[in-house]
């Protein structure tokens, strides 16, 4: 669903993990395994990936799906712990391995990394480097992605909503 206004275009999605985050979009052309594909500094190091060298930290990272090893949960939780995680993750299909990383980071460190499922066509319409703000409510409920926003919408999130 698309809306537009002075603040920019807003897309609706489904929350896979509650949280808010904003940053420039990083649209990955191919799925990425966080394990083995992202180093401790948050840089994409997978030599098979066309966007090797991109930094994920602080970005709103969009990819169609996750890929590869189940160890990605721990690597994502560790990136959240060290403050080098993406600002938000946008997917076209639920990836439970990434959701688990976000759940554990919330459980242990009280930092909420939003993970949102968008319609595939909406995800495909996104362009890297667009400023974006993500709001995700309790899992399986609504979430929004606002593009070209100058400032992130301050959003209230129920900390028990996971």
């Amino acid at each position: 669903m698309t809306g537009s206004g002075a603040e920019g275009r807003t897309l609706s999605g489904r929350s896979l993990h509650a949280g808010t985050g904003s940053g420039d979009l990083l649209c990955l052309a191919e799925p990425l395994s966080i394990f083995g594909g992202v180093d401790a500094a948050g840089v994409l190091v997978d030599p098979h990936h066309p966007q090797r060298g991109a930094r994920l930290s602080g970005r709103v990272v969009a990819m169609a799906s996750g890929r590869g090893s189940s160890s990605s949960s721990a690597v994502l939780a560790e990136l959240v712990r060290t403050g080098r995680a993406p600002a938000a993750i946008l997917l076209a299909e639920c990836d439970t391995i990434l959701v688990v990383g976000a759940l554990v980071a919330a459980e242990m460190y009280a930092r909420l990394l939003p993970v949102v499922e968008l319609a595939p066509a909406d995800l495909a319409s996104l362009a890297s480097d667009t400023p974006a703000a993500v709001w995700a409510g309790p899992a399986a409920g609504p979430a929004t992605l606002t593009l070209r926003a100058d400032t992130a919408e301050p959003a209230v999130v129920d900390p028990e909503a996971r």
């Binding site: 090893s69 721990a74 399986a140």
Partner: protein, 433 residues
């Protein structure tokens, strides 16, 4: 997934509410969070688990596991453990920094404190001194480690979704998983057919053909379920077919997100193609040829030239049958070249059986080293001078360039042995042309 909110049974709600203690409640919060994200309408009880959170990836995993221990957690079902970061039997083979040595050991110990079995293997399904951890066909389990997930689903016909760090141990402590993904009938049907009947039978007898098939499966299927036709195999042949499918599945899970595949006429859910085809879609059939296998094999080799510094075998962990094949290949031949470090990774239970049968002695006599409890691509084992590594593992070849910064050459077991002896890459490409 059909609409409708998650509904918990009364006993599950009680677990979530803390009536079974704070560790169970914490585990349930993770399981329920995933169930909601996945759109599950209920949870399922599980019969066993295989946890891979014992490999150290940083403080978060350690603190989560130690929190469960502090809160009095214990696994409710049989839970085997994947590789850790250390070789507890051969500590001299791993060269961890202080953090990894200390925290890696704490993480392994915390999993044992929760009641998990210290198997330390990515292939717990393999028999060694004891029978392997082999869930019955149709049973629901919570398995982690992408190769083990593909194996337990595809080769054993048990049902697991793609579990990973945290969710595996949360499922083991709560005894529940979301009723979602590959636990459900509709998700297990094939939507894609890869037909290998045009590939020469001789090429399919080369062990390196199977990781190559895995690359093709991973790249074409992604996360979808495929049926493979035209492949030989018999799961009752003493381990040969199992080892081929282990290599295939491990590579497909690395190159794609494959968690289940069917080999028609071989794997338990696929007595016929019709038995596994999705009923609501005409499956797309892709015919594969020998040239496709060769291109797939070559995609796993990043090295050019014949320089060779090390050989790594046993990813996933070497089986007794693979030890037998290696021991036979070594019999009566010359030892490995001094300049080539040869490693075989395996589980300690298979090690005990391989030692009893004399296979370990044969490897050591040739100059090889056997590593247990961990793996050469996940923890510091290789010498810093090592630049080019030959392996018979598609999974190792997929991950090692990024994990270790080395170049790889994928070869058959025979090519790995010949190369290790010659001190340079030796390949026999006749069947691949």
């Amino acid at each position: 997934m059909t609409a409708g909110p998650l509904r918990l049974r009364a006993d599950e709600q009680a677990m979530l509410d803390g009536e079974h203690g704070p560790a169970v409640a914490m585990a349930m919060r993770v399981v329920v969070g995933v169930a909601r994200a996945a759109g599950a309408q209920r949870l399922l009880p599980i019969e066993s688990a295989h946890a891979d959170g014992c490999l150290y990836h940083g403080i978060a995993g350690l603190e989560f596991t130690e929190r469960l221990v502090e809160l009095g957690g214990a696994v409710r079902v049989r839970t085997t453990l994947n590789v850790g970061s250390l070789d507890l039997l051969h500590p001299d083979l791993v060269h961890p920094d202080d953090e990894l040595a200390s925290n890696g050991r704490r993480l392994m110990d915390a999993h044992v404190a929760l009641g998990c079995e210290p198997t330390w293997s990515c292939a717990p399904y393999q028999a060694g001194r004891h029978p392997g951890h082999r869930p019955a066909a149709g049973s629901h389990v919570a398995w982690a480690e992408s190769n083990a997930i593909a194996f337990v689903n595809s080769v054993l016909g048990a049902r697991t979704d793609r579990y990973g760090d945290f969710l595996d141990i949360a499922a083991a402590v709560s005894g529940r998983v979301p009723d979602a993904g590959l636990h459900r009938d509709e998700a297990r049907a094939a939507v894609l057919v890869l037909d290998f009947s045009a590939v020469s039978r001789e090429l399919l007898e080369v062990d390196a053909a199977w990781p190559a098939i895995g690359v093709l499966l991973g790249e074409l299927a992604g996360t979808r379920v495929a049926a493979l036709t035209g492949l030989p195999g018999d799961l009752a042949d003493g381990g040969r077919t199992e080892d081929r499918l282990k290599a295939l599945g491990a590579t497909a899970a690395s190159a794609g997100g494959v968690a289940l595949y069917h080999v028609v006429g071989v794997t338990p859910e696929a007595p016929t193609l019709a038995a596994v085809l999705s009923s609501d879609a005409r499956a797309h059939v892709v015919r594969m040829h020998g040239a496709d296998l060769r291109a797939a094999r070559d995609s796993l080799s990043t090295a050019s030239g014949d320089r060779l510094d090390a050989v790594s075998l046993g990813t996933p962990h070497f089986s007794v049958a693979e030890f037998a094949a290696l021991s036979a290949a070594l019999a009566g031949g010359q030892p490995f070249a001094d300049a080539v470090d040869v490693y075989v990774s395996t589980g300690r239970d298979v090690l005990a059986e391989a030692r009893r049968l004399g296979y370990v002695e044969a490897v050591v006599a040739a100059g090889g080293r056997v590593l247990t409890d961990t793996c050469t691509y996940v923890t510091p084992v290789l010498h810093p001078r090592v630049r080019t590594v030959m392996t018979n593992s598609g999974k190792w070849a997929w991950y090692a360039p990024a994990n270790l910064g080395v170049d790889t050459v994928l070869g058959s077991l025979a090519e790995c042995v010949a190369s290790a002896r010659a001190g340079r890459v030796v390949r026999d490409d006749r069947l691949w042309r």
